[in-house]
Amino acid sequence: MHTAVNLWPLLGIAVVTAGFLLRLHPVLVVIAACAVTGWAAQMPVMHMLESLGRAFIKTRNLPLILLLPLAAIGLLERFGLKEHAQASVARIRSATTGRLLTVYLLAREVAAAFGLTSLGGHPNMVRPLVAPMAEAAAEARHGTLPEPLRRHIRAMSAATDNVGLFFGEDIFVAFGAIVLMQTILKTEGLDVDPIRMALWGIPTAVTAFVIHAWNLRRLDARIRRETAR
C-alpha cells in the first residue's frame, strides 16, 4: 500500500512526548510542537501564525469554567468558607472520608450526566469544600492525621472530582465530546445517533463508579491503619 501519506507531521507528537519526558516547560513544549508540526506539513509561516491565532481565539471558551467562579469563591474563602465547611463536617460523626467522597462521586457523576458539568470542579468545589470536608471527616474520627496521609486525602478528593466528571459527562447527549464524535464519524461516512453513543457510555460510567468507590473503601482502610499506630 503506497499512498501519498505525509508522515512528517508525526514529528509534532514526538516533540510533545520528548518535551514531556524531559520535563521541559509545558508551554514551550506546546509552542515547539506547533512550530515543528507546521513546518513538517509545509505550512508557510504566515499561514501557520493565522492558524494558531484562529485556534487560540476559537478555544478561549475552555478556560471560562475555571475562571468565572473565582471572584465569588475567593471572596467567600476570605470570609471563612473553608473553615466553615470543616467545622460542619466535623460535627457529622457517622461520615468517614471514603463514604463522604463516594457520595460526592455519585453526585458529581449524576450531575455531569445531566450536562451540569460545572456543578463541581477544583476551584469552586474541591478546594473550598470537598477536600477540607474529607480531611475533617478523618480528623473527627481519628484525631490529628500524619502529613502524608492528609495529602493523600486531598489528592483523592481531586481524583474523585475528576473521575465523577469524566465518566458522567460523556453520557450527556449535548456534551461537546458527543458532538465531536458525531462530526468525526460523519466525515468518515458513518451517521450515528448521538443518543446511542450516550447510551453506550453507560456501562463504562457504571464500571468507573464501582472501581473508584472500591478505591475509596481502601482509602478508609488506610486511614484506620495509619492512625491506629
Binding site: 516547560h25 508540526t37 491565532g53 475562571l67 469563591i73 465530546a177 472501581i211
Partner: protein
C-alpha cells in the same frame, strides 16, 4: 439572544486586565512587569476576540508562551487574612456562607434546564449554542452579588480575591487553552492521517481482541501524550476505530465511539499534560508532589482501561 457568551468573554478580559494592573503595583512580585505583560496580553485575547487579526493573535500566543517559558511569570506574595479572623467570620456567618457557593450550580442548573428555551419578546434569553457556559456565567455573577451582600465586601474585593487565585495558579491557567490549539493544528497538518497509516501498516490487528486492545490503549496513550481526549479521538478513531473495528470487524460505530472516548478519558486521568484536571488541583490544594493527583487516579484509571477493552469486545456487535 440577550445573554451571549461574549458578555462573559468581556468580563474575563476585564478580570485579566485588572490582574495585570494589580500585578504592576505588586511590590512583592519579583517579576511584576513581565507577569503583568503576560496577563495583559491574555486580557486582549478575551476583550478583542474575533476582532484581532488571526496572525496577530498567533503572534500574541507565541509571545505569551515565550514569556511564561522563560520563567518571567511569577506569583506575588498575597496578603492573606489571618486564620483566626477567618474562623471568627466562619462562626458569625455560618451556613449562610454556603448560599453563594451553591448559587453557582443552582443557577447553572436552572439556566440549562428551565430557561433554555425562554424568549423575552422575540429574542432568546440565553445563547442556545452555549447554554451551560452562559448559565454558569450568570450563576457566577449571582454568586458574587450574593457574596458581597452577605459579607458587605465590595465587588472590587471579589476581583482582588480572583486575582489572588489567578496569580497563585500562574501560567498553568493558559496551558489547557494552548493544548487545544495544538490539537487543532495537528488536525490541520494531517497528523491523524499519518497515525492511521502507521497503525494499519504495523500493528497486529488480525485478532479481534488485539484490535480492541490496540484501539483502547491507543486512545489512552495518545491522550497521555496530548493531555486531551478530544485530540486523541479523531486520530485513533480514524486510524484504528473506523478502518479496523468498523471496517473489518463490523463493530457498531456508536459502541466504538463511546468506549473509545472513555478510554481516552482513562488517559486523561494519567497525564500531567491535562493541567486543568491534574496540575491545577495540585496547586490549589498546596500539594508538594506534582503528581499526587495522578498517583491517586492510577488505581482507578488502569483497571477501568482494562474493563473498557472487555466491554468493547463483548458489546461491539450490539
Amino acid at each position: 439572544m440577550i445573554v451571549s457568551l461574549d458578555v462573559f468573554y468581556i468580563l474575563v478580559g476585564l478580570l485579566f486586565a485588572a490582574t495585570a494592573v494589580m500585578t504592576v503595583r505588586d511590590a512583592t512580585n519579583p517579576r511584576r512587569m513581565t507577569t503583568a505583560l503576560f496577563w495583559g496580553l491574555y486580557a486582549l485575547v478575551y476583550l478583542l476576540g474575533e476582532r484581532l487579526p488571526p496572525a496577530v493573535a498567533g503572534v500574541l500566543m507565541i509571545v505569551m508562551a515565550l514569556v511564561a517559558g522563560a520563567g518571567l511569570v511569577r506569583p506575588g506574595r498575597a496578603a492573606v487574612v489571618p486564620e483566626t479572623e477567618r474562623q471568627a467570620s466562619a462562626v458569625r456567618l455560618g451556613h449562610r456562607l454556603l448560599v453563594p457557593a451553591l448559587a453557582i450550580p443552582a443557577v447553572t442548573m436552572l439556566g440549562s434546564v428551565a430557561l433554555k428555551d425562554v424568549h423575552i419578546g422575540a429574542r432568546l434569553l440565553l445563547d442556545p449554542n452555549n447554554v451551560t457556559l452562559v448559565s454558569m456565567g450568570c450563576g457566577s455573577v449571582a454568586a458574587l452579588a450574593l457574596a458581597c451582600a452577605l459579607t458587605r465586601a465590595t465587588p472590587l474585593q471579589g476581583v482582588r480575591e480572583a486575582r489572588r487565585l489567578i496569580d497563585a495558579m500562574s501560567w498553568a491557567v493558559v496551558l489547557p487553552h494552548m493544548l487545544a490549539v495544538l490539537g487543532l493544528l495537528f488536525a490541520e497538518a494531517g497528523v491523524g492521517k499519518a497515525v492511521a497509516h502507521v497503525a494499519t501498516t504495523y500493528l497486529p490487528l488480525d485478532s479481534r481482541l488485539l484490535a480492541c486492545a490496540a484501539f483502547c490503549v491507543g486512545m489512552a496513550l495518545f491522550t497521555v501524550v496530548m493531555g486531551n481526549g478530544f485530540a486523541a479521538f479523531p486520530v485513533i478513531a480514524g486510524g484504528i476505530g473506523i478502518p479496523v473495528l468498523v471496517g473489518v470487524y463490523h463493530a457498531n460505530p456508536a459502541v466504538m465511539a463511546a468506549i473509545g472516548m472513555f478510554s481516552a478519558y482513562c488517559g486523561t486521568l494519567m497525564t500531567p499534560m491535562a493541567a486543568n484536571f491534574n496540575v491545577v488541583p495540585v496547586l490549589l490544594l498546596d500539594l508538594p508532589d506534582k503528581n499526587a493527583v495522578i498517583k491517586a487516579q492510577l488505581p482507578t484509571a488502569l483497571p477501568l482501561l482494562g474493563a473498557n477493552i472487555v466491554l468493547l469486545y463483548c458489546l461491539m456487535y450490539r
